[in-house]
């Protein structure tokens, strides 16, 4: 708007930023929900070894398999076993383990993979993307063409082949997802840096005598990193979705592994007799992923200078 009021001191600064964030939060309270979900899931992941014995997932108790004894809810379908003894709030799985405990153990595993993938992708993206954009020429062309190759094929296909060939372990799983993820970040950082490096202050720094490395890593990259971080927040959810989809189709290190996708996979065979087995792990994935997506979406609005007026 040309008609915007004059911008002066009180309109900006850190205090105004916070004020602005709160204002947007008022317009869009869903962001708060995302924030809370993300924080709770991270806290849950951190304290999960305290809540549940971390090695309890090896223990099978086939007497207690597939039973439901939570009096708060009745599934209304035949063939549901009742368990005796202690209460399992979300029932038990086919190995007789408490589903709720397994889910508590699963959250840190999924979050850790997601963080590893996203952070590595950001690092790779910043490194190659900024160099491609700033140096340009042949190096830019080369990096672009390599990303082209990876963007031309559905990532999940590449991941499946990698996991089958390289062995089913959490490391390979992480690597396989990362392989399909990094090109987006290279592209994103590249386009951000391309836009940023055309800004007049870069020209001013060059005129001042600042070297390329200094301009790129002290000024340009920090100024273009916010959209990348927003994307990283959004992608935590998407990575969890991809990882759990891979384990869901059986590409898991061990059938016993408490990983949300794997738990759901164990549950799908009993979809009509023990629906909770697929319902709750999937719901957890949905909630965590939604939380990070809402958070990222909100942060994007806050950081978007065009929305300010």
């Amino acid at each position: 708007m040309k008609s915007k009021p004059p911008a002066t001191e009180d309109r900006y600064g850190r205090r105004a930023d916070i004020k602005y964030s709160l204002y947007l939060l008022k317009l869009n309270p869903v962001v708060l929900v995302g924030f809370i979900i993300s924080i709770v899931s991270i806290i849950l992941a951190l304290i999960s070894p305290i809540l549940v014995n971390p090695s309890s997932w090896h223990l099978q108790n086939l007497d207690l398999r597939l039973c439901w004894n939570n009096p708060a809810f009745n599934w209304g379908i035949g063939g549901v076993f009742d368990c005796t003894g202690r209460i399992y709030p979300l029932g038990t799985d086919q190995y007789g383990r408490s589903l709720s405990e397994m889910m508590v153990l699963a959250i840190p595993i999924d979050l850790e993979i997601a963080l590893e993938v996203v952070l590595s992708a950001v690092v790779i993206g910043v490194l190659f993307g900024s160099i491609a954009a700033y140096v340009g020429g042949t190096i830019d062309e080369l990096i672009l063409r390599i990303t082209d190759i990876f963007l031309a094929v559905p990532g999940i296909l590449l991941a499946i082949v990698m996991i089958v060939v390289m062995g089913r372990s959490l490391f390979v799983l992480t690597l396989a997802v990362l392989i399909t993820w990094w090109p987006f970040y290279v592209r994103l950082v590249r386009s951000q840096v391309l836009g940023e490096k055309e800004k007049p202050y870069v020209e001013r720094l060059r005129a001042m005598g600042a070297g390329r490395t200094r301009i790129l890593f002290v000024h340009v990259v920090p100024n273009s990193i916010y959209p990348v971080l927003v994307q990283a927040t959004l992608d935590i959810g998407s990575v969890i979705l991809t990882v759990s989809a891979l384990t869901f189709i059986g590409l898991t290190p061990s059938p016993l592994l408490p990983e949300l996708g794997n738990l759901a996979n164990q549950g799908i065979q009993y979809i009509f007799t023990a629906p909770w087995l697929i319902l709750f792990p999937g719901l957890t994935i949905l909630i965590i992923s939604l939380g990070f997506n809402l958070l990222g979406d909100g942060i994007r609005d806050i950081l978007d200078p065009r929305l300010r007026r």
């Binding site: 915007k4 009021p5 004059p6 309109r11 105004a16 709160l22 300010r308 007026r309």
Partner: protein, 374 residues
């Protein structure tokens, strides 16, 4: 004291216009009781520095303020009807026919993916019945021009003329006929804003035109409506001097042709001196001084006007420019009383306490300052 805007030949009178922008950080009191009027057939210059509210005034008049703006009070009376109290649909028709606005930057204001021709003809297409008499008249004029050039009557054109005359009785046109006449009309308008090869420009996209040509295209969009009032919002700011001269000249000539009044919004006092009949000076959401252009430059009364005039560099002579101390206030926290008082060299006790009103000091010269009564 004479009431502002009480002149008989007034086309637009704005009274006590107050606008607030609600922002996350607080309310910006952008307009603080703007008073101005435009006489029929004159060019009124509305001048002030960035952020003084001159564009907001224009947008408020045509009802195009952004959603976070609120018109707190005021009237904008165009030819007897208050625009601010109008319903959305009536206001749309007013924008369509009576008040046209031309904006600053011809690149960003033209839709990049639509042809110039479409962006002009869609105006007619949106309410054809309002334009049919002009479309027919334009074609009839064209026919007689052609015949005059040939020196004889052309039978084919004669037939067309009869048909058109018949149609002008009913004020109805078929779709095909409407499209054809609209196209001819638009082309003739493009020609009248002196765009070379109007038929070609008709089919071009904005990015294919130069800055000056785009500005002409935008003026054509205003012109095709033959508005009673033309709001020209910084129309020369983005242009080079030679192109600016062309645009100003064009504006003056067209004003005569279509017999309209112009509210010329600008920050450039030189432009004001060149083309305006009267001037209104704005500062921080208020009109602080209104006068005939010669009177204002000869005898500026308000300290702000004096400061502004003293700071303008001139191309015809070398002189030390004086600047106004301080900077434009943040209108979220406007100064009390007279909004200029923190920067005013002649401030006294009354200024921070009360707000001066615009009063007529000498015939046609209005000032809002306690030095002159207020």
């Amino acid at each position: 004291m004479r009431k502002v805007g009480s002149e008989g030949e007034t086309i637009l009178a704005v009274n006590d216009l107050k606008v607030i922008f609600h922002t996350y950080a607080g309310d910006v009191k952008a307009l603080d009781g703007v008073e101005l009027f435009v006489r029929k057939g004159e060019v009124l210059g509305l001048v002030g520095e960035s952020g003084c509210g001159k564009s907001v005034t224009a947008l408020a008049i045509v009802g195009l303020l952004p959603p976070n703006a609120e018109i707190v009070s005021g009237k904008a009376v165009l030819d007897g009807t208050d625009l601010l109290g109008m319903g959305e649909e009536k206001l749309r028709l007013t924008r369509l026919k009576d008040v046209a606005i031309v904006f600053q930057d011809p690149m960003t204001y033209l839709n990049p993916v639509l042809t110039i021709g479409l962006q002009i003809t869609e105006i007619v297409a949106s309410q054809p019945d309002l334009f049919i008499p002009e479309l027919i008249k334009n074609r009839l004029d064209e026919i007689s021009t052609i015949e005059k050039a040939k020196g004889e009557l052309v039978p084919k054109l004669q037939v067309e003329r009869e048909k058109l005359r018949a149609k002008s009785q009913t004020n109805r046109l078929g779709n095909e006929e409407l499209t054809r006449l609209t196209r001819l009309y638009a082309t003739s308008i493009l020609k009248s804003v002196r765009l070379p090869e109007p038929e070609k420009v008709f089919k071009m996209y904005p990015f294919e035109l130069s800055g000056g040509m785009r500005q002409r295209a935008m003026i054509a969009m205003a012109l095709i409506r033959r508005p009673k009032l033309l709001l020209a919002d910084e129309i020369t700011t983005a242009l080079d001097v030679t192109v600016q001269a062309q645009a100003l000249q064009l504006l003056q000539q067209l004003k005569e042709v279509i017999d309209t009044s112009v509210l010329l919004i600008t920050h450039d006092l030189a432009v004001v001196a060149e083309v305006c009949d009267r001037v209104a000076v704005m500062y921080a959401g208020n009109v602080v001084e209104v006068a005939d252009v010669k009177e204002l430059f000869r005898n500026p009364m308000h300290p702000y006007t004096q400061g502004l005039l003293a700071s303008v560099p001139r191309v015809d002579l070398v002189a030390e420019q004086k600047s106004i101390q301080g900077s434009v206030p943040d209108l979220m926290f406007p100064p009390s009383g007279c909004r200029f008082h923190p920067r005013c060299p002649r401030v006294f006790e009354k200024c921070p306490v009360a707000k001066p009103t615009l009063i007529e000091v000498s015939p046609g010269h209005l000032v809002s300052c306690f030095l002159f009564g207020g």
